[in-house]
């Protein structure tokens, strides 16, 4: 606790002293009448400077929330000594904003207690330390103040709000385990694939009697088996385009959370690669636990500035299983991220890129050179997209304000009609 004098103290002292000196030097006792109220005020106030004793208890109604949720931080205040005027200024981290009226100034009687609720809104995903407070206790006369800063004591985890996805990007190849994805291969399954001649070993129940009667020979139905797939969400965190309240990374994390949720719901294995200044990864796995693991890992995602040139060989081999579908979420801003994606395609991974468009985050330049650069930049980005498309990699521009479902649908349509290139 830091105790300091308020401006009132030197002001009154100077006025009292000045009037007294003037009274003595000029021999005018009536000037003492000007000094006397200030002198009395200071004498009484300095004699009654209290020792403030304030106990704070912080509570949060929930420790986990979803973006957009409104929560309350409860402040339990008690004071044995009493406080004449208590100012509380809660400090919220970036991503959490207070709502409603500011905290009023309080008066706590000796032994009194007070309960305050401060409402706030979770604006952005992340793990936040809450409970930071600036506390200022004033004395009755307003000449000294005791100030203290309370460090954050509570942790709030705000999870990204997941969007609804009707359809997902289907992988080119599936894994051998049972799942919800209809495999392109033929085998035991429900989805009808083809009719072929009977071969020894075929089960009788698979015989298609109508076709067999028409073709004068036994024919059996073939079907597509339901398999699962390995999906790796590749998050490019080398760079981001940011406005005050939103960035490409914020949107990429939201999209990754949505995609992880959707793929895990359909019994696929989902992994995560956070490829940036700091490289983090989660090996593909399935189930609810993996969903939590991915979301928790996404909360730690940030753009860490680094000059180190990283390649995908820093990733453990089991992070990127063979024949897995790699869904990259990238703003296409950093050469290292672009190079890593080309490298993945070169290694034969089934790659699809969702470009989190940074164009909406750029302020309109005022000078001619800036405007020219802003015209050239989208052209350069188009050329870059074309380069990937030539390799059979769909690159879909996901603009601000659009749902991720639109971008996913665009990827699906590209993969349906585009020629697959073998590299």
């Amino acid at each position: 606790v830091i105790r300091s004098a308020l401006p009132k103290l030197p002001c009154y002292a100077a006025l009292a002293a000045g009037a007294l000196i003037a009274a003595v030097t000029l021999g005018r006792p009536e000037l003492v009448s000007l000094a006397a109220p200030f002198a009395l005020f200071l004498a009484v106030s300095l004699a009654r400077v209290p020792a403030h004793d304030v106990a704070l208890e912080l509570r949060l109604d929930r420790e986990r929330a979803i973006e957009g949720d409104e929560l309350e931080l409860s402040l339990g205040l008690s004071s044995a000594s009493g406080v004449e005027r208590l100012e509380l200024r809660p400090r919220f981290p970036f991503g959490v904003e207070p709502i409603g009226v500011p905290v009023p100034t309080l008066a706590l009687p000796p032994g009194g207690e007070h309960e305050l609720d401060v409402a706030f809104r979770c604006r952005r995903w992340g793990a936040y330390g809450l409970g930071a407070l600036e506390v200022r206790a004033f004395d009755r006369f307003g000449i000294v103040v005791d100030e203290a800063t309370v460090e954050p004591a509570l942790t709030l985890r705000v999870y990204p709000r997941a969007e609804r996805l009707q359809r997902l990007v289907r992988p080119l190849t599936t894994q051998p385990f049972a799942g919800n994805q209809v495999s392109r291969a033929k085998g035991d399954g429900i989805e009808f694939a083809d009719v072929r001649s009977f071969a020894p070993g075929d089960r009788v129940r698979r015989i298609n009697w109508r076709v067999s009667a028409r073709r004068q020979g036994l024919h059996v139905n073939e079907s597509h088996p339901e398999r699962n797939t390995d999906v790796v969400l590749f998050l490019d965190t080398f760079a981001e385009a940011r406005r005050a309240d939103e960035s490409t990374l914020d949107r990429a994390v939201r999209a990754a959370s949505t995609l992880a949720d959707a793929y895990l719901e359909t019994r696929n294995r989902v992994g995560l690669v956070d490829f940036g200044g700091i490289v983090r990864w989660l090996r593909p796995a399935s189930g609810l636990a993996q969903d939590y693991r991915i979301v928790e890992a996404l909360l730690e995602t940030e753009v860490a500035f680094s000059y180190v040139w990283k390649k995908t060989d820093v990733l453990p081999p089991r992070t990127l299983p063979p024949q897995s579908l790699v869904l990259a979420l990238t703003p296409l801003l950093d050469e290292r991220g672009l190079d890593a994606l080309l490298d993945l395609r070169g290694r034969g991974f089934d790659l699809a890129i969702v470009e989190v468009s940074p164009l909406g985050y750029v302020d309109l330049p005022r000078d001619a050179a800036g405007r020219l650069a802003l015209r050239l930049w989208p052209l350069w980005r188009s050329a870059l997209r074309y380069r990937y498309e030539q390799l059979g990699v769909p690159v879909v521009e996901w603009r601000e304000g659009e749902p991720i479902a639109a971008a996913i649908e665009e990827v699906r349509s590209f993969r349906r009609y585009a020629r697959q290139v073998r590299v």
Binding site: K8, L15, A19, A22, V32, S33, L34, R85
Partner: protein
């Protein structure tokens, strides 16, 4: 409300010496115009200039008082008014920082300060009006009173906190 009362009080305090200024009216008038302006500036957030505003008002009063053969009889009211003006300005700034629970407490406090300030300002007037005692007994009493005042000041200065308490925020 506190700001409006402060401005009104500032204008009144600036006008009182001006009425009695006589031939000094142009000079005192300039000071009288400047002081309420400074008070207004303090009310708009420049609290650090408030001492200058109060100082100017006191200076204006002192100049007029010195220029006259007889002292101004409003001295106690002027002194108390200066303190109440300062309290009103500080109260305005505190209220501007955030809402306060129980505005009645603030009003009671300002009334109490005004009454005490008026009482304190009248003490010198009464002291001047009473004929001073003389002789050995008076000197002994005066020395005794001085020792008591100094002793009380020393006790207040060395005041220790009660044992067993650990003040602070926790």
């Amino acid at each position: 409300v506190t700001s409006a009362v402060a401005v009104a009080l500032g204008v009144v305090l600036a006008a009182v010496p001006l009425v009695n200024a006589g031939s000094l009216r142009p000079v005192v008038g300039a000071v009288a115009a400047l002081a309420p302006a400074i008070v207004c500036a303090a009310l708009f957030g420049l609290v650090s200039v408030l001492p200058w505003g109060l100082g100017l008002l006191a200076f204006e009063y002192g100049v007029v008082d010195l220029a006259r053969h007889e002292p101004l009889v409003v001295a106690p009211f002027f002194g108390a008014g200066l303190l109440v003006l300062a309290e009103l300005v500080y109260a305005s700034r505190e209220l501007a920082r955030g809402a306060e629970e129980g505005p009645g407490r603030r009003l009671a406090w300002l009334v109490a300060v005004a009454a005490c300030a008026l009482a304190a300002a009248f003490v010198p007037v009464l002291a001047v009006g009473v004929g001073g005692p003389s002789g050995l007994a008076a000197e002994v009493i005066a020395v005794g009173a001085s020792v008591i005042v100094l002793g009380a000041s020393a006790v207040l200065a060395r005041r220790v906190r009660p044992a067993g308490r650990n003040p602070g925020f926790h």
